[in-house]
């Protein structure tokens, strides 16, 4: 069966969302949710689902297999470089995420991206672990 990586996005869902946290006292938003607010320090964080679309504030590529505890193939045998971006979701928060696109000629500052959930790896029990990524949308999508 399919399982979600961590507990940081709604799944299964037709329109998955990242599970952030929002401070009841100062309205700071974090991803993922945490127990205490990083701005005011109060233990007043509640779950807050984040917008699905955002813009790319910055991006890079991951050109080599990440070291353990990377759950993908760390031997590098089946490794494919992937894109990584800092995505601003509305005026709420910026999240760091893998991107479905890794071509520097396609990735662009300010491009619109949308959350998607994709297969990541199969664990020792045969379950398919799903992870989240952001994908270019609309006019920003290229083939």
């Amino acid at each position: 069966m399919q399982k979600a990586l961590g507990d940081v996005f709604t799944w299964p869902a037709d329109e998955p969302q990242l599970k952030g946290g929002r401070c009841r006292d100062c309205e700071a938003v974090t991803f993922p949710r945490q127990s205490r607010c990083p701005r005011c320090g109060h233990a007043s964080m509640e779950e807050h689902l984040l917008p699905r679309r955002g813009t790319l504030v910055s991006w890079t590529t991951q050109g080599f297999p990440p070291v353990l505890p990377y759950a993908g193939d760390p031997t590098g045998a089946s490794f494919e470089p992937f894109g990584v971006g800092l995505v601003q979701l509305g005026d709420q928060v910026r999240v760091e995420s893998k991107l479905t696109e890794s071509d520097p000629d396609v990735l662009a500052f300010g491009m619109t991206v949308e959350l998607t959930v994709v297969p990541f790896y199969v664990d020792d029990e045969g379950d398919e672990i799903m992870t989240f990524e952001f994908a270019p949308v609309g006019d920003d999508r290229r083939s």
Partner: protein, 381 residues
């Protein structure tokens, strides 16, 4: 400040040393620093040590002499070496000791740094997802910086080539061969736009300083170098820093900016007074950004400064004269102390074929690392 003098500096070479342990390298570095100071281990009244790989550094006393002194362990990731200096200086200012040692040593396995993310309060899934990779943060930061401030990939290559060239003049450097800008740009892209030869590598080494009450320094040396300021800062809300799954929309500047301002204020000088500079060049882009974050230029001016050779040993703002992290690698505990060792040599006029001309009087060192911790040390003769 100025109440504390560095009277001795010792550096075990950086690189790969087979079976030699971190402790053996650390003991060698302390012995070199003591010899440089004309002091004995029995003169040392307290010590501060830093390392990533060993559980604690104070077992060094078993190699140096079991004199019973207080020996504290300090760890602030890439800012560890600077933290040992600050603590040793503060112990002297507080009157706890007249003579103190700061020492750092490490022996990292090959390849990029590995650790359990939860040990630094980062969720496990972040690592499982392949995001607990420091180099990716540096790629993301410089990519945006280049876009915003008109810095070219050619400038990144110039920074790396300069550091390899300086390393070739440093007998204790890890990388001692010049590398052309073309080869740097043509090496594999690790994290766009950063290529393999633009990055430093974890390696092995040790460095140590002997510090002393300034008014007693004359007992040991005719060429004391004074600690004018130390400042360490963690990240503020709004800063986007290494190993973080998120950042606030309201951007704040890096902790380096706060540490730099605090250190200059305490030293009572400005960037224009500095004659020799050491900056954290985890990668070539980091050196470019740190030039501005430390106040040595405005954002974007690096493009012309590098084209003009301003940061070369004989330029107006010499940076990483010993080759920096790019040529020396990064044994984390020792790296910040290596920076200070180089500044001490430069301020004494003892840096040999990499000596900055014109008798520099003020030296400046900055380190930066996870999870957004920066330190600045200012020295003067």
């Amino acid at each position: 400040m100025g109440e504390v003098a560095i009277i001795g500096a010792g550096l075990h070479p950086f690189g790969r040393f087979g079976d030699k342990t971190a402790f053996e390298m650390g003991a060698d570095a302390v012995e070199l620093a003591l010899a440089d100071a004309g002091a004995e281990w029995s003169d040392v009244q307290c010590a501060f040590g830093g390392s990533w790989e060993v559980a604690q550094t104070d077992p060094l006393t078993g190699l140096l002499g079991l004199t019973g002194i207080p020996f504290m362990n300090v760890f602030n990731a890439c800012a560890t070496g600077a933290a040992t200096i600050q603590q040793a200086a503060n112990a002297i200012i507080a009157g706890d000791a007249d003579v103190a040692v700061a020492v750092g040593m490490d022996k990292h396995p090959r390849g990029s740094f590995k650790m359990d993310p939860t040990l630094t309060n980062v969720p496990a899934w972040f690592g499982e997802n392949g995001q607990f990779v420091t180099t990716k943060f540096f790629g993301m930061k410089i990519n945006r910086y280049m876009h915003d401030h008109g810095i070219s990939a050619a400038t990144l290559a110039k920074v790396a080539a300069k550091n390899y060239r300086n390393g070739a003049r440093n007998p204790k450097a890890f990388r001692r061969t010049a590398v052309s800008e073309e080869d740097i740009l043509a090496s594999p892209v690790l994290n766009h736009p950063l290529t393999q030869y633009m990055f430093c590598a974890p390696d092995e080494g040790a460095a140590a300083l002997v510090l002393c009450r300034a008014d007693l320094a004359h007992r040991y040396t005719d060429t004391p170098v004074f600690v004018e300021a130390t400042a360490i800062r963690t990240r503020n809300y709004g800063a986007y820093e290494v190993n973080s799954p998120w950042a606030a929309v309201d951007e704040d500047v890096s902790p380096t900016v706060y540490a730099s301002r605090a250190a200059f204020e305490r030293a009572g000088i400005g960037p224009e007074d500095v004659g020799v500079i050491q900056l954290q060049d985890t990668d070539a882009g980091a050196e470019v950004i740190h030039m501005a974050e430390n106040g040595f230029c405005a954002d974007g001016e690096q493009e012309k400064l590098l084209a003009d050779g301003a940061t070369e040993i004989d330029g107006p703002m010499p940076i990483n004269t010993d080759g920096g992290l790019i040529a020396n690698g990064e044994p984390i505990g020792a790296s910040g102390l290596r920076q200070i060792h180089e500044l001490v040599l430069q301020l004494r006029g003892e840096a040999g074929e990499r000596q900055v001309p014109g008798d520099p009087r003020v030296g400046y060192a900055q380190v930066y690392g996870a999870p957004g911790t920066a330190a600045v040390t200012i020295l003067a003769r």
